[in-house]
Structures are given as structure tokens and as C-alpha cells.
């Protein structure tokens, strides 16, 4: 690598929101041909830095430089003109428009004022080839799986032939094949001279792909160095600021013989013909590639979507709940994956969010006991270490704390069956550790914990058994003895199913 000049750089930038300083004197340089990792826990200031680099926000102090020259007022249009393309976590796609229209939008080839669909077809096909998608261009994006949409989003960024590509958690919803394609693409693009900024919570990925790393902690740059010689624990140490210790709790089986929940011939949504018995005191993992029907399994058990079943026992009752309130009465609780859309009322206070399951169960017209509610919410917050004023809106919390609220709100009901949908997605390392500890804690109290996760490593370390789902069917049920990341991935990919099952 030659010591090329940076294409895009932020020098000594600071940014505050409502008096809170989220970035202080941060410098980052994006060089051509270098894959640059940006690491940090949630709330460390990564998104703000990305927004500064893409012109969506302006720094309070410091400056943004393009090709070594300071830019006076950097805005999204200016960033695009400078060749900066950003792939954010929240996709920018429009479901009702075709793949081609989505890729071209904002930058359509034109002929006499009209969109030149022929030219569009050529250029978007080229962009799709780069990310390895062979979909018909006229297909509406709404019909694609989440992983494919993510790839379309990346193709959209490449379509503008950027010089700087910023990828924010690009693999969060990708299958491992797609993630592999992306890794190869990143390597190829950087060899063609692109500057790439890569943000990810998956440290293995970062170690495999990136050449250089910048770490933020509490808005300050704590590391800025080449990747050579840095190990996984080393990265965590840089992010957390201390020794990582062990992310996962020590594993002891609390599994009892009494079943908490058993179904035979269960079907719901995309999920077909599941027979399984979940015991009290176990963490029952559900794995597989993203979007194979796992979520429908949880929702069907929870009574949130219609389910058919040959035989079912929940606790002592010989049937599945037909509605969510009924499931709650049977001692079931569900924590959704999408906190913002399904888990929380972002506009409402943290306290209200914590009380909502209680409001749902209490008699509708009983007068509320405000003092009692305050005690309950204070205790919950203390127990789950959710800090700060509980009358703030839930949207003020970081992702990890939001997840804790979504989990804590069920505790007053002492649920016996917890259905958790990817509870650590987009959660920082510290909170992850806390959540894993809680899960084992629940199991030791005799609760049944059903843990749906896209992270095979997490399943291996936390679960007693793992059910792997592929294309809406049970691909394997892996016992503790055989539980390794490779067995889960192999079953999820459908490779040599027999060997895994035996």
C-alpha cells in the first residue's frame, strides 16, 4: 500500500446534541484502497461520525476535507458529488418500485427529460452483477427477502460509482453466503482504489476484511491503527476500554424433566410441521439463516398469528393460546426483534413502556395507583440497570437499554415461558453480556427460555439445545454434546443433514 492522500477526512470534529457532546475532537482519514473499520459500542458516536462524513450533519467544531481541501458547507448533495456513498442500516429503498428504479433513483439516466430505461437497465444490471444478484430488474423490491434488499441497497451505492463507500452494519441481515459475497466484493473494490469505511458488530468479519481500525468510545477516538497484530479480544479491549473477560456466562444445565411447552404437528405462517418439547429450566435455541420461518414459530406459539397444531400442551393446558392476552395468562412473554416497530412505544415514557403489560392485564376501568406504578418501574429499572429519568421518552435510550426495557416489562408477571426473538441484535458488548447472564438466570429459576438467534456463536454458548430451521421446516435438533457453530451452520445450509442429525 502506498501512502496515498486521504480522499475523505474528518479532522478534529466535535458534535453536540442538546448540550450532550457525542463526538469530541475526532479525526479519521479514509484512504484509497484501504478497508477501514470503525468500531465502538452503541452510543459511542459512530452514527454521528457517519452522518458528518456523509454531509447529513454539520460538525460544531473541526472540519471535513475532500481530497485534502476543507469543505466549507458539506451537505448530502455535496457528499454525493464528492463520490461518497453510504449504505445505512435503515434501508433507503421503496418497496413498490422495481429493483432498477430503486437503484437508479436520485441519479437516473435521462433522455429528453424522461428516464432512459434502456440505459438504466444496462447500468443497474452491471451494479447487480457486482453484488452477485441475478434478479429480474422489474421485480418490486417489496418481494425480496431482507438479505437481498440489503444487497440491492449496496448495488444502489455502487451504481453511483463512488470513490468512498461507507457500509454501516451491512451484514446484519445477510446470510453467510451473502456475507461471503460481500467480503469478496469489498476486497475487490478496495483493490480498485475505493476507500471503504466498514462498521460492524461482528468482530470476526472485521478481523477478516479490514486493514485499519479506528475505535470510538464515548465520543472520543481511543485507537487508530493498522489491523496487523490485533486479535479479537484485543478489539473488544479497545472498544470497552478494559479486558473483555468472558462474554458468555459459565454454562451449567438447569434443564428439568417437566415440559413447559410441547407441540406436535405445529404449523404457522411459513413454518410447517414442527414437533418439539421444551423443558422448564432450559434455554432452547432456534437457529438457521435469517427469515426461514423461525419468527413465525415464535409468533404462532405466542398466539399472535394463527397456528394449526395436532397436539399441544402449554403448562397444564392441552392447547395453544389463541390470542396474545391468553398467552400472557398462560405465563408466556414475547420480546420482538424489531424494538422500534414491535417492541416499544418510542414516543411514550420508559415508565409507561415498563407498565404496559400490566395495563393490558388489569381490569380496564380500575383507577390506577400512580405511586405503586412508580415503585414498580423504579425497582425494574434498578434490577435491569436502566439508568436515568424514567419519564423520558423511550426513544432517548440506546439500543441496548431499549432491549432491556422490552425484556424488563414482562418481569412483574413472572412469566414461565420466555420467547425471545434475536434479543442481542444491534446491542453493544456490555449489554450482550448482561443479557446472556439474565437468560441463564431465568433458566436456573425454572423458566423455559426460547432463544431465536441469527448468531450461531451465541446459541452455542447459551443454549441447551438448538433447533435449526431451514425453508420453514426443522432441519435438525442439535443436543448439547454436538452443539458447535459448524453443526448449526451446516444444518442451516442443508449440508449433509443426516450426519448432523445423528
Amino acid at each position: 500500500m502506498t501512502a496515498a492522500a486521504p480522499i475523505l477526512a474528518a479532522r478534529g470534529v466535535s458534535k453536540s446534541f442538546f448540550g450532550n457532546e457525542v463526538l469530541r475532537d475526532v479525526t479519521i482519514e479514509l484512504l484509497p484502497g484501504r478497508v477501514h473499520a470503525l468500531l465502538g459500542e452503541n452510543g459511542a458516536g459512530k452514527s454521528t461520525l457517519i452522518n458528518l462524513l456523509s454531509g447529513a450533519l454539520r460538525p460544531d467544531g473541526g472540519r471535513i476535507e475532500v481530497d485534502g481541501r476543507p469543505v466549507a458547507s458539506f451537505n448530502p448533495a455535496g457528499a454525493r458529488a464528492a463520490g461518497v456513498a453510504v449504505v445505512q442500516q435503515e434501508l433507503s429503498l421503496t418497496g413498490s418500485l422495481s429493483i432498477a428504479e430503486n437503484i437508479g433513483i436520485g441519479d437516473f439516466p435521462r433522455r429528453r427529460g424522461l428516464i432512459d430505461y434502456r440505459a438504466l437497465a444496462r447500468s443497474t444490471r452491471a451494479a447487480l452483477d457486482l453484488v452477485g444478484l441475478d434478479e429480474p430488474l422489474d421485480r418490486p423490491v417489496a418481494e425480496l427477502s431482507l438479505g437481498r434488499r440489503q444487497m440491492v441497497e449496496i448495488a444502489k451505492a455502487l451504481h453511483r460509482r463512488p470513490r468512498v463507500l461507507i457500509l454501516d452494519e451491512p451484514t446484519s441481515s445477510l446470510s453467510s453466503t451473502e456475507a461471503g459475497t460481500l467480503a469478496a466484493l469489498v476486497a475487490r473494490l478496495s483493490s480498485e482504489g475505493l476507500a471503504i469505511l466498514y462498521i460492524s458488530h461482528r468482530l470476526n468479519e472485521v478481523l477478516a476484511i479490514c486493514d485499519y481500525v479506528t475505535v470510538l468510545k464515548d465520543g472520543v477516538r481511543t485507537a487508530d491503527q493498522p489491523m496487523q497484530g490485533v486479535s479479537g479480544p484485543g478489539l473488544v479491549r479497545l472498544m470497552v476500554g478494559r479486558d473483555p473477560g468472558d462474554l458468555f456466562p459459565s454454562w451449567t444445565s438447569d434443564r428439568e424433566h417437566r415440559p413447559a411447552l410441547s407441540v406436535e404437528g405445529f404449523s404457522a405462517g411459513a413454518m410447517r410441521d414442527v414437533s418439539v418439547e421444551i423443558r422448564r429450566g432450559e434455554v432452547f435455541g432456534i437457529g438457521g439463516l435469517v427469515g426461514q420461518g423461525q419468527e413465525d414459530l415464535l409468533l404462532g406459539l405466542y398466539g399472535a398469528i394463527p397456528a394449526k397444531v395436532r397436539r399441544a400442551v402449554v403448562g397444564d393446558r392441552p392447547a395453544l393460546p389463541r390470542s396474545v392476552p391468553e398467552a400472557n395468562r398462560l405465563g408466556m412473554a414475547y420480546v420482538p426483534a424489531d424494538r422500534k416497530r414491535e417492541g416499544l412505544h418510542l414516543l411514550h415514557s420508559i415508565a409507561t413502556n415498563l407498565m404496559l403489560p400490566a395495563f393490558a392485564r388489569w381490569p380496564a376501568l380500575r383507577l390506577r395507583d400512580r405511586a405503586g406504578e412508580r415503585r414498580t418501574t423504579r425497582d425494574l429499572a434498578a434490577h435491569f440497570s436502566i439508568r436515568g429519568d424514567l419519564s423520558r421518552a423511550a426513544q432517548a435510550l440506546s439500543g441496548g437499554n431499549q432491549q432491556k426495557v422490552a425484556l424488563a416489562k414482562w418481569m412483574p408477571h413472572d412469566p414461565s415461558i420466555l420467547l425471545l426473538n434475536d434479543p442481542t441484535r444491534g446491542v453493544d458488548v456490555d449489554t450482550k453480556r448482561e443479557i446472556y447472564g439474565m437468560l441463564r438466570g431465568f433458566a436456573s429459576e425454572g423458566k423455559a427460555v426460547v432463544l431465536l438467534s441469527s448468531d450461531a456463536q451465541e446459541l452455542v454458548h447459551v443454549a441447551d439445545r438448538v433447533l435449526v430451521v431451514r425453508e420453514g421446516r426443522v432441519a435438525a435438533l442439535i443436543d448439547r454434546e454436538d452443539l458447535r457453530e459448524e453443526t448449526i451452520v451446516a444444518a442451516a445450509m442443508g449440508a449433509e443433514r443426516e450426519r448432523v442429525a445423528t
Binding site: Y334, L346, H348, T352, M355, W362, L365, L367
Partner: protein, 321 residues
């Protein structure tokens, strides 16, 4: 802004709250208008304004709850008319006080509201469409029942509600006080109220948290039917007779009162405590425009412009959708 979890507002917060500010605007308008026109500030005139606001405030009570729950009720005008036209027809013999007829017609409008709610909750028809279709349907039924003629009521309770002034306070205002207190209690002091806010802010999250969203939705529209029915009774008492179209002015006015009071038209945020001054403000504006001697066209232009101006002054919805 009052949300279900800000139980005790500290004093400075209360002074900055939307309901208080709206009251302040009403008071200012009254003071300024009184200094320009002697008649405006007279006790009798102000009492009359409050009486008109009571009628609007009654319909707007149901509308507020529906809007907080994330819906909108475009059938309130039709329901007011159903009540005002239907009550005289529902007067059984052996009902000397008239209470049976009043209870019966309010039960009917609540039932109609429940049907609307069932459509919204279970058929998943968008509230705007469901309530519009219900209004269209009721309009047809009303014409069959009443034709073009006005129907007068010989009902003592209705007459009392429309005209009596116990302790010098109009009966309609007393009824309003009662309904307003009940609405505020339900919204902010019961689990049901908390469910209404939750359903309005995020129905999916609410249902996954165990909130019976469908039942809540039905109840909310039934409540709107109830308050619209009560409004019809009061309007009938004030007018002496009911006719098709008597409720029409209350559709847009009820929505305007809710929004002027600071309740988000998108649901999940708001309070009836804002709708009360919102109704007073709206009635005051209308009265002022009547004082200005203008043609109906100019009156409408003034009315619309003032509402728009007040909305601009009193805060924006933000970029939330």
C-alpha cells in the same frame, strides 16, 4: 403535553403545557373582544358561548379519544343527527321524565359506534373509510326515517338539558363538566386509557404486549357514539326540533377542536384537557366572525384562515408520520 405517564406536572411545565396555553389564548381573545364590543363581554353572552362550547366539547370528547387511539371519526355528524332525529321517535308511553328515550337513543348511537369499531378492528377497514361509509349509510337511513321534515320532541328531560339553568349554570354545561371529568379520568387514570394511548402510538407493539387492541378499538368508537348521541340530545333540547343535517356543523368543528387542543392527529399523544379550551376557542372565533358583518363566503375564509394561523402558531407535528 400530557402523556399517560406524566402524572404530576410541575408548575412550570403546567404553565408551558398546551391546554394551559390554549386557555390563555381564549382568555386573551375574550378580553380584547370585550374591550372592542360591549356586548361580547356581557355575562349572558359569555355564558352563551360556554353553552355552545359545551355542545362542541361533548362531541369532541369522543373524537379526542378516537384520535388518540390512532383513528378518526367522520361519522360523528351523522350520529348527532341520528340522535336528534331518532329520539322523538323513541318516546314510549309511560315515560314521564323522558329518561328512557334518552337512554335508548344513546344506547343506539353507542351500538352504531361499536359496529364502526368492529369494522375498523376486525375488517381492518381504514377508520376514515369506515366512518365515512357509516356516515353515508346513516344518511340514507335518516332520510328514510325522517324525510325532509323537522321532528319536534316533547321530552321533559331533553327540554331540561337544552334550556334549564340550575344554580344559574346551563344544564348542558353541567353535563359537559361531568363528561369532561369522566373522559379525563378514563384517559389518564385507568388502564383502559393507557391502552388507548398504546394502541394509538404503535398498535403492533401494543398487541404484542398483550393489549386487547381490537376490543380497545371497538370501545373507543362506541364511546364516540355515546358522546355524539348525548350531543344530539342536547342539540335537540336547544333547538326544540330535530332535522336531517342538524349535526353537520360538528364534524369539522370536532376535529378542529381536538387538533387545536394539541392532540396529535397521528395518534398516541394528546389529552382531552386540551380539547376543552380548543372547543371554547373555536366557538369564540365563530362568534367573532359573526360579529364582523361579512358575507357567508368571507366568513368561511376568515374561519379557515384563523384555524390555520392558530395551528401555525401552536406548534407543529414534526416530521413524524
Amino acid at each position: 403535553m400530557t402523556s399517560p405517564a406524566s402524572p404530576r406536572l410541575a408548575l412550570p411545565a403546567a404553565l408551558k403545557s398546551r391546554p394551559f396555553l390554549t386557555f390563555l389564548v381564549v382568555a386573551l381573545v375574550w378580553i380584547v373582544a370585550s374591550s372592542f364590543s360591549r356586548g361580547f363581554g356581557a355575562y349572558g353572552h359569555l355564558r352563551y358561548l360556554v353553552e355552545l362550547a359545551a355542545v362542541l366539547g361533548l362531541v369532541a370528547a369522543g373524537q379526542t379519544v378516537v384520535v388518540i387511539a390512532g383513528g378518526i371519526d367522520l361519522s360523528v355528524a351523522a350520529l348527532v343527527t341520528v340522535s336528534a332525529v331518532g329520539l322523538p321517535l323513541l318516546s314510549p308511553a309511560g315515560d314521564p321524565t323522558g329518561a328512557v328515550a334518552v337512554l335508548a337513543i344513546v344506547a343506539v348511537t353507542s351500538a352504531i359506534g361499536s359496529v364502526t369499531g368492529l369494522g375498523v378492528a376486525y375488517l381492518r377497514v381504514h377508520p376514515m373509510i369506515m366512518t365515512l361509509a357509516m356516515a353515508t349509510f346513516l344518511q340514507g337511513v335518516l332520510i328514510i326515517i325522517a324525510g325532509g321534515s323537522a321532528i319536534s320532541a316533547q321530552n321533559p328531560l331533553v327540554h331540561w338539558l337544552g334550556n334549564a339553568r340550575p344554580f344559574g349554570i346551563p344544564a348542558a354545561v353541567l353535563l359537559w363538566l361531568f363528561v369532561a371529568t369522566a373522559t379525563l379520568l378514563i384517559l389518564h387514570m385507568t388502564p383502559f386509557g393507557a391502552r388507548v394511548f398504546a394502541v394509538g402510538a404503535n398498535p403492533l407493539a401494543a398487541s404484542l404486549s398483550g393489549v386487547p387492541t381490537a376490543a380497545t378499538t371497538v370501545a373507543v368508537y362506541a364511546f364516540s357514539g355515546l358522546t355524539a348521541g348525548l350531543t344530539g340530545v342536547v342539540v335537540l333540547g336547544m333547538n326544540g326540533q330535530g332535522y336531517v343535517g342538524i349535526g353537520d356543523p360538528y364534524l369539522l368543528a370536532s376535529i378542529a377542536a381536538v387538533v387545536l387542543g394539541g392532540t396529535s392527529i397521528l395518534g398516541g399523544r394528546g389529552t382531552y384537557a386540551g380539547t376543552v379550551p380548543g372547543a371554547l376557542l373555536l366557538v369564540t372565533i365563530t362568534a367573532l366572525i359573526t360579529v364582523v358583518n361579512a358575507s357567508p363566503g368571507w366568513r368561511n375564509i376568515l374561519f379557515g384562515t384563523l384555524i390555520l394561523a392558530l395551528l401555525l402558531l401552536s406548534g407543529r407535528e414534526g416530521a413524524r408520520r
